[in-house]
Symmetry: C2
Subunit: 468 residues, 2 copies
């Protein structure tokens, strides 16, 4: 468990006065109930939760603006909350303060099907959006597994299984409405596909984890539902073979929509948890999107490559129902991993390396795991060089926590040494601040300057990404 | 011609002392020759040039760092210079100062063909890079027409003909080495394909036009040279038909690599300038990349759509030599336009709108041109909703300058009213500062805060993007 760091330069105001003022405005939409506060200070990570002093439920950008203005005046921390599915302690109210729950801002504001874009409120979840879009023949591809809110996904620069083809939230977000730390409201860009109009404010707020402002509306790029979709799984004799197959597929520019790696331990968990009977071996999950012709062409190419690495026959799923079952099993992999050791808690992490380094990074990580006493399955978005390690630990055992923590440190150091990043898609939160410093050094001081310029009192999700 | 704005809050230091110090370090690589200074204060725009007080030729990041540190200490402006092909007065030394010419930093530092990326010094030009890459089967797609430097292209968030398929510099740049205003050197990101590690510094510096720091090295995403490439041109009875054809092609998700619009006036100029005999009509230039099968499939689809809008037969160019001639004609369109009215100077501008608004935006613009006394051909990257208007003016005529200026104002206002941006790819420089304010309002104050945080003395290319 990460230790909380003390802020030194900032004194926050006391929340009582703020709660009183906000109560008058929000009425029943403000609560100080312990259960609600605890839930809002907790995410799906292994980092210590911390409850805010109150939770307000915003229904509009103006609600958010009001809450921010009051907090700003009294220098009380503000933490935005979507669905609580973050993985680096992003929602923990490290210094108390007011949590703004955006889940009731769940309206799809507009869809411009001609321009393949839409605008949604921050609380809309990705599944909700895709339900809404289905009849229009459109879809939103970014898929981090969890049914996260679009606002949360923008804030953490989320990605997931489809990123290898469609990009991450960095590419998906066209424009944002943001409430700044002093309550001003800005729109970061227009709906045009490209622009050279000044600094890229959109990309600055994407991935800023609520530390620079609160995202209340998001304009997203959409895609037409492909004419043909085909999914398959394929088992390999070794993890090196599976990874080799991924690397060659990507290097040859075959436009796979998804290419996911699950190691043997993960597959064991998947079979047990999802009642499937896949071979317990290192496995790739593929998906191909396009016209009938191109899907056939690309899947044949991918299959040839896999065969060259000793991959077994592709097990195809072309019916939507079967595909959904396959991807549900993939998305449930975390729960499946966790079930491998009943009573354990998963320490989930992710790193990302250049694809040429992926085989080395994974095999050294596997070797490290094998030398340890910790069970740690591996799965990931191999096409991007991004993978997850899930350390299954007994949180009552100081020894196990220490051992897993040391392994985690070595994992990140290994990824950085290979030219990679400490997080491909989970973000920094308060769990990876030291790793961010190791990765970017002086670059972090530039982030700190920006943070201080836009949030001089450090009230926006303090203690995340950077220690001011 | 835009008027220069007076900075009010900043007093710059005098350059003499700085020149003396830099001379001791750079020797012959510093010059105060009038001809060289004039060339370095002039770009390809219609905005008034302004010479710097001296030009230094940097050969390394350390050279840049040294120059910046000296200028920073003495509060003297610094303007980075690549090839001088910018279009909004970006290199004009509005307040004098030192121009740092990066053209001698022209080394390809490394190519990671396995990862489809490379790292280059800022002065490498896009053609030089593509020559270098050709034998490896790789290419760098961003193509603004001019043989610009990669550093300049990153600084202005350039794009061009290939952006509809491969994206702009926003998508192409993976990481940057930057010298900050105080001389610190940072790297903005690692080589991993995706990352959630803190604020997106890469995207912040891309498009910042040298106002936040000087980019000295760029890591770029590359692509494999497609197995098959095919180009074609097609004439349409009206500009609405041509634009309608573009819109439908994009909306159906047909992955054209290029889809360029040239109006009848431009085609007349092209034929005369490039000695071609294309029909003098509203015309689309297409290019398709992929496997033999997919190129055939996509070009057939595009042709069917064009036929539905009254388009003539596609004139195909499949041989590299013929394709190059076709695209050279497209790239020379600006010179061809200019030659339509000998003695005139081109006022070149660009706007970008959501594709659904493109037909309306262009047809209203055409109507405006027809009601005026100014000849103004139109061409553009229609697949992105981005187009150029080139006002051919007699710069000795105050009346023409005023008329063209008013038309330009109406063009940008029209694009903004249709949900577009005041510049799709040229940038703000000092020519579009007022338009940027009109487009983003309070967003510009966020840019100003960032500028002041990273360059408190406003020495980095002062007077561009924002008036501090």
């Amino acid at each position: 468990m990460s230790e909380l760091k003390k802020l030194s330069k900032v004194d926050f105001g006391s929340p009582e006065k703020v709660i009183e003022i906000l109560k008058a405005y929000f009425g029943d939409r403000l609560t100080t109930s312990l259960a609600v506060r605890e839930r809002h200070g907790t995410d799906e990570s292994f980092h210590a939760p911390r409850s805010p002093d109150a939770v307000v439920f915003a229904c509009s950008t103006e609600d958010v603006q009001y809450a921010v203005k009051v907090c700003s005046k009294h220098q009380v921390p503000i933490i935005a909350y979507g669905t609580g599915t973050s993985l680096e302690g992003h929602v923990a109210a490290l210094y108390g303060g007011i949590c703004i729950d955006l889940s009731q801002m769940n309206e799809v504001v507009s869809v411009n099907s001609e321009d393949l874009d839409c605008t949604v409120q921050a609380g809309v979840t990705r599944k909700q959006l895709n339900e809404y879009l289905r009849d229009m023949g459109l879809f939103f591809p970014v898929d981090p597994g969890a049914d996260a809110s679009i606002g949360g996904m923008a804030s953490t620069r989320a990605s997931g299984t489809n990123a290898v083809r469609y990009g991450t939230m960095r590419e998906a977000v066209m424009s944002l409405k943001v409430v700044l730390a002093d309550g001003r409201i800005i729109r970061t860009a227009t709906r045009s596909r490209k622009s050279s109009a000044g600094y890229d404010l959109t990309r600055l707020f994407v991935g800023s984890e609520g530390t620079l402002g609160i995202i209340t509306e998001i304009t997203l790029r959409l895609h037409g539902i492909p004419e043909a979709i085909s999914a398959a799984i394929c088992s390999f004799p070794s993890i090196d073979d599976a990874v080799g197959s991924v690397i060659e597929t990507i290097q040859l520019g075959i436009p796979v929509a998804r290419i996911e790696l699950l190691d043997d331990a993960t597959m064991m968990g998947v079979n047990s948890f999802s009642k499937t009977d896949y071979p317990v071996s290192h496995t790739l999950f593929y998906e191909f999107h396009g016209s009938q012709t191109s899907v056939e062409e690309h899947s044949r190419q991918a299959q040839d490559i896999a065969a060259g690495f000793g991959g077994g026959d592709f097990k195809w799923e072309t019916k939507a129902e079967d595909r959904n079952r396959l991807w549900q099993a993939r998305h449930d992999a975390l729960y499946a991993m966790n079930a491998l050791r009943p009573g354990s808690k998963p320490m989930v992490t992710d790193v990302c390396v250049p694809i040429s380094q992926l085989a080395q990074c994974i095999s050294e990580t596997k070797a490290d795991i094998e030398c340890s006493s910790i069970m740690a399955p591996i799965a990931g978005h191999a096409g991007d060089g991004n993978f997850h390690v899930v350390y299954l630990v007994d949180t009552d055992s100081h020894g196990e926590l220490k051992e897993a923590g040391d392994m985690h440190d070595r994992l990140v150091a290994r990824a950085l040494a290979l030219g990679g990043t400490c997080t491909g898609e989970h973000g920094i939160g308060y769990g990876k601040i030291d790793f961010l410093n190791a990765e970017l050094g002086e670059g972090v001081s530039v982030m700190r300057s920006i943070k201080l310029a836009l949030d001089p009192n450090n009230i926006m999700n303090p203690g995340k990404i950077i220690n001011v």
